[in-house]
Every structure is written in structure tokens, then in C-alpha cells.
């Protein structure tokens, strides 16, 4: 009985850059590979696809050897059961959408077909595009066709190398639900490379964080992102929560998180009990000593000041607030911190101007 695992044990050196990783990834759900550019995440994906050869190491997919430098074995990319969608999601320009989809499907051979062409085109809403040429497609349509094309090779895993980075935020948010649908409908394991916190928080079931070619964290998305993903310039936190109620009249939904309940615009796709992740940015949160009254901001979480420190030499301070165990960094002006005479241990209300719902 083969294990549903992708086994990675790799070393690869380039001029001025090295990747070294040893990690077993389960072949289920969406695994995000997250890191700044130059961290080696794309190289890792290309090694798995077989477009690069490691200097040393091995890759096993479901106990099948894809690469093993010690045994001098290397399965060429076209023999690996992996679908690959790269940045910009290029298609074969001389074929129609239908031709693009059948190109891979007819070369796939006798792999068990758990789903049909019709299932895939329906799930990705591309059935009306079948006669179109790739040059006629919009960015979002091209991404969906590329996903379908990869799916139809019936791979064991789908490798996505920042496929949506060329799309603007609105189009990107429109395509993410499709990926989740593929998960639910086709149970297709996905390895997803991204440097976008919001994207990762919204999609991933687990995360592998790379920095300078080394693993810095692996596992729970919220915990790993909070520990490693936020920096000085782009500070914030991910809060895990749960949908607890819908208000049909005001078109809002209640989300229970550490420190209270947030009321956010209702989303049709959610139902009561769904786990969600919220992305809060440090400069989109304000602090108050009293429960807000007479303010348009209605979302307030109760917490306690854990630490205060200067944010560089500028006029800002970085206040660390603990919301029953969860840390939330808040950026306030030095003047405000002095006016409120903020101190460690003090009870505060964190006023949430905007919260991005992710996951």
C-alpha cells in the first residue's frame, strides 16, 4: 500500500544561492510554499517537476522514485505524474482551448480517470470557451484553462508556481474559490508557491516557509504565518475564527475570534460553523481605552497591552496587544501612545477598521 506522501530530500546549488530541504509532504489538500523572492520556492517546485536536477538527493512520489542521485535515477518531467502551472499560465498558442485540453489528456495513457473532461470544464466554467484561441482569453480565463489542462493529465499532484501573480487583486480573489472547488470536487493535492500572505491564508491547509533556501517553518498556516511572515514594513496578524451567525437584514455575519466577535459583510459561500482566517494589518487597527461609542468603527476586540516599542526613529510606536493569547501588532503614533499613557498590562480595545477575510 503506497503512502500518500511526497518525500523530498534535496540539495541544489546555484551561483550565490543554495537550496537544502528535507521534508515529507502529505499528498492531500493545499500545501503552500511561502517565502520572499529568492528564497528558493520556485526552484523547489521546478525540482519536483523535473525541470531542474538536484546536486544531491531524492524525490519520491507515492513511493515511486522520481529522482535519486545516489542510484543515478532521474524520471524525466514528461513521465512524472505532476501537473504544472507556471507564472502567467501560458498555454499552447497554436491550439484552441479544446486542443490545449486534449493535448495533455490524450498523452496521459492509462491513468484512472476519476473525473471527465466535462466535470473539469464545468467546475472551472470554461465550457463556453472551447473554440477560443489562447490569445483571445482574458487573464482569469487563461488561468482557469491552464488549471483544467493540468488536471486533465490526471496527476498525483498539481504544482502551481505563483500562477495568479499576473492578475490584479480583484481577479485573483475571483479565481481562488475555483482552486478550493477543485479540492473539494476532485481531491487533487496542490503544492502552491506564493509570496502573498492573503492568498496563502485564504487557501492553504498547511504551509512550508522557506528563507534563503532553508525551511524556517512547517505546519499550521495561522501559527507559521504569524511567527514568520510579517515584517517591519508589512506588519499584522492572522486570527483564526469561526462563523457563528448571519444577520440577513444588515447583510452581515458574526465571526468569533480571540478577544470578541467581529461583524463582517456576509459571504454567501460561508455557513455557520465554518472556520475562517482573518488578516489584520497593523496600520488598519486603532486602540481605545474605552469601548467605542459614536464611531463608525464598530468592530472592537478586547485585549491587553503586552509590549510597546518604538517603530524606528519615526513618529510611530508598535504596540503588541494580546487577545486572549493571540498576538496582534498595532501601529499607533507616538503622540497617541503618550495621550493614552499606554502601559504594559493595560486593558485596551483594538478597533478594527478593515479585516480581510481569508480562508
Amino acid at each position: 500500500m503506497p503512502t500518500d506522501t511526497l518525500t523530498l530530500d534535496l540539495e541544489k546549488r546555484f551561483a550565490g544561492f543554495g537550496l537544502a530541504l528535507s521534508r515529507d509532504l502529505p499528498l492531500e489538500g493545499i500545501t503552500a510554499i511561502f517565502g520572499p523572492s529568492g528564497s528558493g520556492k520556485s526552484t523547489l517546485l521546478r525540482l519536483i517537476a523535473g525541470f531542474e536536477r538536484p546536486d544531491r538527493g531524492r524525490i519520491l512520489g507515492r513511493d515511486e522514485v522520481w529522482c535519486d542521485t545516489a542510484a543515478r535515477r532521474f524520471l524525466p518531467p514528461y513521465k512524472r505524474p505532476a501537473g504544472f502551472v507556471r507564472q502567467g499560465a501560458p498555454l499552447l498558442p497554436h491550439l484552441s482551448v479544446a486542443g490545449n485540453l486534449s493535448y495533455g489528456e490524450k498523452r496521459t495513457g492509462k491513468r484512472p480517470a476519476r473525473y471527465s473532461l466535462e466535470d473539469v470544464t464545468a467546475a472551472l466554467d470554461i465550457a463556453p470557451l472551447m473554440e477560443h484561441r489562447p490569445a483571445m482569453l482574458s487573464g482569469g480565463e487563461r488561468q482557469r484553462v491552464a488549471l483544467a489542462q493540468a488536471l486533465l493529465t490526471r496527476p498525483d499532484i498539481l504544482l502551481l508556481d505563483e500562477p495568479f501573480s499576473a492578475l490584479d487583486r480583484k481577479r485573483k480573489l475571483a479565481i481562488l474559490p475555483y482552486l478550493q472547488r477543485l479540492q473539494a470536487q476532485f481531491a487533487m493535492p496542490v503544492l502552491y508557491v506564493s509570496h502573498d500572505i492573503e492568498e496563502v491564508a485564504s487557501l492553504a491547509d498547511r504551509i512550508l516557509i522557506l528563507e534563503a533556501g532553508r525551511e524556517t517553518a512547517y505546519g499550521d498556516v495561522t501559527a507559521c504565518l504569524n511567527a514568520h511572515a510579517f515584517g517591519e514594513d508589512d506588519d499584522g496578524a492572522i486570527l483564526s475564527g469561526q462563523v457563528t451567525a448571519f444577520d440577513e437584514r444588515l447583510d452581515l455575519m458574526d465571526i468569533e475570534v480571540a478577544g470578541g466577535v467581529l461583524r463582517l459583510p456576509a459571504e454567501q459561500s460561508r455557513s455557520i460553523g465554518d472556520p475562517v482566517r482573518l488578516l489584520l494589518r497593523a496600520n488598519e487597527v486603532a486602540l481605545s481605552l474605552t469601548r467605542p461609542d459614536g464611531l463608525s468603527i464598530r468592530n472592537a476586540l478586547t485585549g491587553e497591552v503586552a509590549a510597546i516599542r518604538a517603530d524606528g526613529d519615526g513618529p510611530f510606536m508598535r504596540v503588541e496587544v494580546t487577545l486572549s493569547g493571540t498576538h496582534l501588532p498595532v501601529r499607533v503614533t507616538r503622540a497617541a501612545a503618550e495621550d493614552l499613557s499606554l502601559q504594559e498590562g493595560q486593558a485596551v480595545y483594538a478597533l478594527i477598521k478593515t479585516a480581510t477575510l481569508a480562508g
Binding site: P76, P77, Y78, P90, L92, P93, Y103, G109, T153
Partner: protein, 225 residues
């Protein structure tokens, strides 16, 4: 057109077609190799391929004449295998033309293959196409415009060749006497009417061929990403 010129016209077309066909077989893999190789020898090969562009045809023809001589290794080998000489023969003309027109086939193809690029070949591989399969089904269709340009240029260039042919083939009717040499001979003999006819045919042929290329490029615009 006087009847004696018909064989020259026919010979020219046969030479251009044979040369273009052989160049397709030789130039396609060579251009692909140049477009994808990472070897340090690449500039050397590229310079060798481009040499006929800058070399006076008579210089190239002179060296080929020496190489084709029945006393030389190449010339004597050919003689022993085929029983015919390479100099002053159609076979010699074809080989000389292939070398002379090589850059016109290789350069447009190399550019086209480089544009298609590694990313298209990787896409094909991720869609389970083996390398040769991917070459025929992705790289070649992607380079369709490059092929049209390369074929037309090679054909047209061979059609108008003079210096190399004269050096290697001479002026033997129905064997090595091509149009350009026939025109030269007519003018030399002050037979302007015959020279006019042949020149007009060549001019018309060249224009029609180029018209075809530009019309084709209009119908198939560059695939935008």
C-alpha cells in the same frame, strides 16, 4: 522565351527546391541545437554558419572548387562512390548552394525557436509529451513563421546565386547552367531580348514569393501571451 533557356529555368528551380529541401533537413536540427545549447562552442558555430553572409561568393566558390577537385579527399571519395565528379556537376552545385544558403535557413529558425522558448517545451513536458513529440507538436508549430521566412529566403537566395555556381559548376547547358548565368551570357552576347525575358521571370517570381510571405505573416499574427 527562346527554347534553349527552358532547361536553364528548369535546372534553376530544381536546384533551388533540392537545396531548400536539404537545408530544411540540416538546418532545423542545427537551429534547434543553437537555440537550446549551453555549450561555449556556440559562438564559433554561429560564426561559421554566418560566414557565407559576408564572404564574397567567389571566395567560397574557390575553396569549394578546391575541395571538390577529384584529387582532394572529398572529391575523390565522391568520385569513387558515385562515379561522377563534384566539380561541374549538379550534385556539386547542390552541396555548394546548401553551404552558401545555410545562414538563410538557420538564422530565422534559430530566432523562432528561441522565441518559442524553454517555457513552451516545459509546458509540453508537463503535459506528458516526450521531447521529440514536443518538438514536432509545440516547437515546430510555434516556429511556423520562422519556417516560412527561412524556406522562402533559402529558396530565393539559391535562385539568384551566381558567383559560387560559376566557380564550382561553370556553364554547362542542362547540367550546371542556371538562370543567372544564362542572363549573364545573353548580355555578354548582346542578346538583350533574351536577357530581358529571363530577368522579368526572375523578378516576377521573386515578387510573388515575397508577397506570399507578407500575406502569410498578416494572416497569422504573432501569438500574444
Amino acid at each position: 522565351m527562346t527554347l534553349p533557356d527552358l532547361p536553364a529555368l528548369w535546372l534553376t528551380l530544381r536546384l533551388a527546391l533540392t537545396t531548400t529541401g536539404l537545408l530544411l533537413l540540416i538546418g532545423t536540427p542545427l537551429a534547434w541545437w543553437l537555440a537550446t545549447t549551453r555549450t561555449r562552442a556556440k559562438p564559433v558555430i554561429e560564426a561559421l554558419v554566418a560566414l557565407p553572409l559576408v564572404l564574397p561568393p567567389t571566395v567560397l566558390g574557390f575553396y569549394l572548387l578546391i575541395a571538390f577537385n577529384p584529387d582532394s579527399p572529398i572529391g575523390s571519395f565522391w568520385l569513387s562512390v558515385t562515379g561522377d565528379t563534384l566539380t561541374f556537376s549538379f550534385a556539386g552545385l547542390v552541396i555548394a548552394s546548401v553551404i552558401y544558403s545555410l545562414p538563410f535557413m538557420v538564422q530565422p529558425l534559430q530566432t523562432a525557436f528561441e522565441t518559442t522558448g524553454r517555457s513552451a517545451m516545459e509546458l509540453a513536458a508537463s503535459l506528458r509529451a516526450a521531447p521529440l513529440d514536443a518538438f514536432f507538436t509545440v516547437a515546430m508549430p510555434g516556429a511556423a513563421r520562422g519556417f516560412v521566412t527561412a524556406i522562402v529566403l533559402s529558396f530565393a537566395h539559391t535562385l539568384g546565386e551566381f558567383g559560387v555556381v560559376l566557380m564550382v559548376g561553370g556553364n554547362i547547358p542542362e547540367r550546371t547552367r542556371v538562370i543567372s548565368i544564362a542572363i549573364y551570357e545573353h548580355v555578354d552576347n548582346l542578346a538583350y531580348a533574351e536577357a530581358h525575358t529571363l530577368s522579368a521571370i526572375l523578378l516576377g517570381l521573386s515578387f510573388i514569393v515575397l508577397l506570399f510571405v507578407y500575406a502569410f505573416n498578416r494572416r497569422f499574427p504573432v501569438h500574444a501571451h
